[in-house]
Amino acid sequence: MNLTVPSETGPQPPPGPAASTASNDSPPRPPFAQDWGRIARMGAVGAVGQIFISLSNMPVKLDGRAIIEGILSLGYLSLVVLPFAVGSRVGYQVRREGVPFHRPGTYEVVGGAACGAVVGGGLSLLAILIANFDLREPLVNWSPILADLLAFNRGTAFAVVIWLAVGAVIGALGGLLRVVPPLAKRILWTVVLTLFGAAVLESLTTDLAEGMGLEGPVEWFYAPRGGLTVTGAIALAIGSAVLAVVGRGRVKGAKAHIDSLEGPARTRAHLGLILATGAVLVILPMFAGKLTNELLANVGLFVLLALGLNVVVGLAGILDLGYVAFFAVGSYSAAVLTAAASPRINPELPWFVALIGVVILTGLVGLFIGAPVIRMRGDYLAIVTLGFGEIIRLLFLSDWLSGWFGGSQGITNIPGAEIFGLAEVSGTDPRSVFYLVLAFCAIAIYVSWRLERSRIGRAWMAVREDETVAEAMGINTVNVKLLAFVVGAVLGSFSGAIFSAKVGSVFPASFLILVSIVILVVVIFGGMGSIVGVIAGSAVLIGVLGGPKQPGLLAEFSEFKLLIYGALLVWMMLARPEGLIPSVRRTRELHQEEMAQDAWLRGQTDEDETADDNNGAAAGRTAVGES
């Protein structure tokens, strides 16, 4: 998308460095005749953002996590993110303007460098301010530690110079990104992503490799105190670059091949893929240690929750902000039914028998919450469900019901889940928890996959897209929406029941509204209505950054993950509302207007050939302007 060059000056030359002065009439601009106003504006925004990142203590906290030993840490990476982004953005805008160049690319690079230097200047300014003023009182991270980090322990003057220079260089790199040929760009991205991914996945890879008895290569790749070794990084970079060149187009080709298959062949291909993934997921934990399994189990719990919310939000289009209520009801009812220590009722049922009760109870709660809210408008519904989520937590917390649920003491000593006398699943053995979660995820995936393609699923989607029309088509919208609510509630309750068996205790504090929001971020990040997207979203967000209380692979991020989730939610809505791996229908719905316009314009051009040219064009402009 970044290489298309919309312009008003007739047909454009093919993008890339070949886009030269030849086809354009206006004289080429020298590289230093920049749009300085824009550079100052964007640079200032970047500088403010970079200062915010610095004062949020991210650089200091993340400095402990090395990416490449002795060369780059995550902390310093967080300081150069914005210069790069801004430089690249400038390059993109220049590209879009289709400026004629003296020498290909110099304009973008100079613009990016200037903009990056402004952002770097923000850090220089911060270094000066920290040296001369004390604002420790409100800003907790206004500290000499940050100053030393910015100055590489060499004094303020050094910091000022170095950040201007680093900003300029990084910004120039960002601008350069827009002019390099596609193949080079591809190699660059692959290398960067591989290195970053290898550094992020460090604990996972080491753990797995140790399980398989491959300590040797791991020690060669990873430094003892974290981060890739220099030799390892170089080897990885070369390897991934080669792969990028060799594997170019292969993945896409394979996908197109599977998509082009029809009938039984296609089913077989899909089945093969699913079985392969399943086999990997079953075999992998056997080699992994406790921490990795714990992580996998947490991810699985959130996959389960996200799949449930996906039915409600993604398929039926009901924005339920109190989804945590069902998680809470599931956990508490499982706890009450299985634990001996629960205050009032303690039937001490086996976990699987209790699960039936859990499902029935949560379904009833879903009906009870759903019935009053289901007829409300979407935005009122969101706030009211949020209110219900909070009410449920407050009830579990209250002294009034503490005779039943233990109040703020919660319910403790919940036994693990016993599976038909075959195995005992409890928090001390995260591997078994993961297998249990995996089984339920499989059920949830199957259920939502079948539902999506059933009559009910189509009814949900119809309701999501236009309730009035759906009603006119004979769909009982109230029942259908209520059903979505209940299905979502039941899927959430599975997660709750596993959670209580895994943790062994439930407290009201585990069910804050925060949890609902995190699940919502996961669903939206992955792609509303897309099962694969939701799973990928949970794996990436919960696995790497961590859940509301659970640590992820980047444990250093624990202070910042909620901040990042918030920013991510906004950014996704602005840039890619359909999510990481979108569902086809949802994308169509979200971009309905653009598509309608395109279709309209196509129709218009056809009509123009017969109708009065001027009138048609004028009407076209108004219609486009209006929408």
Binding site: M58, E137, Y380, G387, L562, V570
Partner: protein, 369 residues
């Protein structure tokens, strides 16, 4: 609505009717038990409802109502922001509670700096005016930047998209406060004695009088601004129909920015009042008041400015009096823990019984159909 109430058609309608009746019965029995207890805690009905009942003394009741009104007027001030934005853009700005938090935080920082300089004690009124001005500027700016960055690009998209975005903004602002200012709760400097002393024959704390008076003044100023000035007229025109307003030569973007700025200013004002009254602020300060203020806006009829204030007062009084008036007589223990639950229940009940709110809602053109 009425017809549906009397002649339920579907099972969901039956269920809702049952809920409505049950709610009314609980309210009625609770209230009757309360009255019975007030007459004589030992009479059989009161004994049946709650054997441990003691009833309220007049002073307790007055105290509850007064603190309810003081909190409610703050909810009302915040609710104005929700109501105005909803009136103009037709979506719930979930992050508005966080603008209130930003106002309270700004007030905390400035007042502590003033206290360090000694001005807070020596010239309290002057410092108060100063922190109010600073806080109003900062929270208006927050609201305006929010609009520019997060909401303007989404104008015209499906209604839930800006709502989800505003949840993200709210999350971001809360956690930005955590990473910048630290997660601990922070306190305002000590206020002068006349704010702590009890005044007049009603024995009301000075701070509460100040809160109510300032809220009333801000409300009056806002009413004047929206109802009597040219900008206010433009705002009402945009709320009525943005497209036609644009055709009449009104700069819609500018007007929307002004709406956000004014709403932010009111939230900043409420933030200072909150700080003066409770003298402590934390990053989650904005969440519950924000939701309750939204409830207030709905209760009063969203888009309706007077309704927002009335809704704020009723939510404030309901959450302060309700637990003791309805729940305590029914034998619910630890009722003060349930005040938030009461506020939310009130929102749900109003939406169930009278979705348009007490004063009827004013909606943008596209929502009326």
């Amino acid at each position: 609505m009425r017809a549906r109430l009397l002649r339920p058609r579907t099972r969901v309608d039956w269920f809702l009717t049952v809920i409505r009746v049950a709610v009314l019965i609980v309210l009625a029995v609770g209230f009757a038990a309360f009255i019975a207890q007030e007459i004589n805690p030992d009479n059989p009905f009161a004994q049946w409802a709650n054997p441990d009942a003691t009833g309220l003394t007049g002073a307790q009741f007055r105290g509850l109502v007064v603190s309810g009104i003081a909190q409610g007027s703050m909810y009302g001030l915040i609710a104005l922001g929700y109501s105005m934005v909803y009136g103009v853009l037709g979506f719930i700005n979930f992050a508005h509670g966080e603008v209130f938090m930003v106002g309270a935080m700004t007030g905390m920082i400035t007042s502590n700096k003033l206290a360090d300089a000694g001005l807070w004690e020596s010239n309290f009124i002057g410092s108060l005016v100063f922190i109010v001005v600073v806080s109003i500027i900062v929270s208006s700016l927050t609201a305006v930047i929010m609009e520019r960055v997060a909401y303007r690009p989404l104008r015209g998209s499906p209604r839930l998209i800006p709502l989800i975005t505003s949840i993200g903004v709210s999350f971001f602002l809360q956690n930005a406060s955590v990473v910048l200012l630290g997660p601990a709760s922070k306190s305002y400097p000590d206020v002068p004695d006349w704010l702590k002393a009890k005044h007049t024959f009603l024995q009301i704390e000075g701070a509460k009088i100040l809160v109510v008076v300032v809220a009333a003044l801000s409300m009056a100023a806002l009413w004047y601004y929206v109802d009597r000035t040219k900008t206010g007229k433009a705002m009402r025109a945009v709320a009525e129909d943005a497209e036609i307003a644009a055709l009449m030569g009104i700069d819609v973007n500018r007007t929307i920015v002004k709406v956000f700025a004014v709403g932010g200013a009111m939230a900043g004002m409420a933030g200072i009042l909150w700080g003066i009254l409770f003298r402590s602020v934390i990053h989650t300060t904005g969440f519950l008041p924000g939701i309750k203020a939204f409830s207030a806006a709905v209760v009063g009829g969203i888009g309706h400015l007077g309704g927002a204030m009335a809704g704020g007062l009723s939510i404030g009084v309901a959450e302060s009096v309700g637990p003791l008036l309805i729940l305590e007589p029914l034998g619910v223990s630890g009722v003060s823990q349930l005040r938030d639950a009461v506020a939310f229940s009130m929102l749900i009940i109003v939406l169930l019984v009278k979705p348009a709110g007490l004063f009827g809602e004013r909606l943008p053109a596209e929502d009326r159909t």
